[in-house]
Symmetry: C2
Subunit: 319 residues, 2 copies
């Protein structure tokens, strides 16, 4: 691997001049510039990023911190979007995962302090016990009292949109199923209550079910709880993927007239699509893009940190 010294020697100049040419950070005569570029090309010179970052005291890498559990989101799509936007800005993306015994703050902090990344994108709100002070952007609602920027998929908007859709097709008794792993479950609830009030629908606490996890089994349980009551609900919004499919299956089992239930899944996972459920689609591509852009902004100090809410769109499917 050729170094800057090799290029300098080949071009008959000092390493400084080579650096000036490559970064054009100082005026260089056209003839010299050409000699340097030719030498670099001929030696197939690639600047060493480690040395660059060490010298510049800033890494050109962004870290993506994965939660220990599988999130509802399309991780592959989000990753791809982040990588695309970061690459465009000359940054690379590092992925780190939380060990079960590790706190989020600890991992993020260490990644930053070791110089392995210039900033972090945090995919989960859990485990942020200690306050963490490096440049970080949250992909979910950050812990209370945090001033860090965030780009979130807002559950409140999701719930409102779903309730409106239900009401437009004449549904009156609308249920809500949440999971403990749902990012910003409180927001879903808030949007649900708001939309009910705005639509002049009564609120019945029995129509709200809190689940533990986001999987089929939990959906079955939630469905049983939901469809046990006497006045059946005729529409359900489920803040989950597999969870929604589980609720659907529970309903099919409990009731013969399956078409009397409208169901909207909060996240359009392939599982949900395969089951033919209507679902909310979040703009993953834009999400990743905005997360990276917010982080770059934070690093460059161009604009003050801010929070962005992404809106879902509704995709209607008929089973």
């Amino acid at each position: 691997m050729a170094t800057i010294k090799d290029v300098a020697r080949a071009a008959g100049v000092s390493t400084a001049t080579v650096s000036y040419v490559l970064n054009d950070s100082a005026p260089v005569s056209p003839t010299t510039r050409e000699r340097v570029l030719a030498a670099a090309q001929q030696l197939n010179y690639q600047p060493n990023q480690l040395a660059r970052n060490l010298q510049n005291q800033r890494s050109t890498t962004l870290a993506l911190v994965l939660p220990p559990f599988e999130p509802e989101i399309d991780l592959g799509g989000l990753l791809r979007a982040c990588v695309a936007r970061a690459t465009q800005a000359g940054y690379a993306v590092l992925v780190t995962a939380l060990a079960s015994d590790q706190s989020l703050a600890e991992l993020a902090q260490r990644t930053l302090e070791r110089g392995m990344a210039a900033g972090c994108i945090l995919l989960q709100p859990h485990g942020a016990d200690q306050p963490l002070n490096g440049p970080c952007v949250w992909a979910t609602w950050p812990p209370h009292g945090t001033h860090a920027p965030a780009v979130v998929c807002d559950g409140a908007l999701a719930a409102q949109r779903a309730v409106h859709a239900f009401q437009r097709s004449g549904r009156q008794r609308i249920g809500l199923v949440l999971a403990a792993t749902t990012a910003g479950a409180a927001r879903w609830y808030l949007g649900y209550r708001r939309a009910l009030k705005a639509g002049r629908l009564p609120f019945d606490p029995e129509l709200v079910v809190q689940s533990d996890t986001d999987d089929l089994a939990a959906g079955h349980a939630a469905g049983e709880a939901l469809f046990a009551g006497a006045p059946l609900c005729d529409a359900v919004i489920v803040a989950g993927g597999a969870l929604a499919v589980g609720v659907q299956q529970a309903h099919l089992r409990a009731s013969a007239h399956a078409e009397s239930l409208q169901l909207i899944a909060g996240f359009d996972t392939p599982l949900v699509a395969g089951a033919g459920l209507s679902a909310l689609v979040w703009p993953v591509e834009r999400w990743g893009q905005l997360l990276v852009e917010q982080l770059l902004n934070l690093l460059n100090g161009h604009t003050p940190p801010q929070r962005t809410c992404l809106e879902p769109s509704l995709i209607v499917r008929s089973t």
Copy 2:
């Protein structure tokens, strides 16, 4: 951020001694060792990885190179497995994506030459026009003539397993649907032919359909081609995820007696699961783990590079 100099000053020793203590690469007296460790702890010292890697002339990062299209595999799961195993070995994982105009070799080579990673895990066989000579491990069948190690999900094994399962339940006319994006499509075909021969079943070229992409629409087209012929096939193995669901839908549309078709999807994506299709499950966790281990082996030169085939297991679902 505290540096090794700060620790040295605080402990009253030279930076060399601090380094010796932290890496225990040289004998240090117990009292000094303790003083150094105390100072490091108190200053919350984290060694700078950039400087370390620069000095040691080897990065502690592994690069995962994503293909430009969405693969059939569970990217999130694979990523998680790679990160887990790499972290365990003291390595980090960098993700890079191929731009559409870029060759695989170019990207991998540059990533290595810039010192951003010590080795690459390549998720796709396409675009490897130039030979690439850095330490790389393939996650699919590498281009011909390559001696690099690989850990692949073998389509031949998959096809054989599926044909056996079909034959056991009395099916005779077994179809095969491939996609251009299928990694190692030739292997699927090979296994299919072998299993037919082993099972003394006749080979009918009309029962093999080659598709372009792996999505629902392509599945519809493949299904129409497959079910147009006079002697209907009674079982199909589809080397894809969405593709399989498409074939299923085409069959439902074409024929009233839907239960007369057995179908096995080559990859158990959530979409396939949601559609209730039987499918082949690949051990993603082990895949990622082995990929990383092979790469580390290659870097350390412990064992010679080798190829590993992973076997799928069959998960049977009834619609």
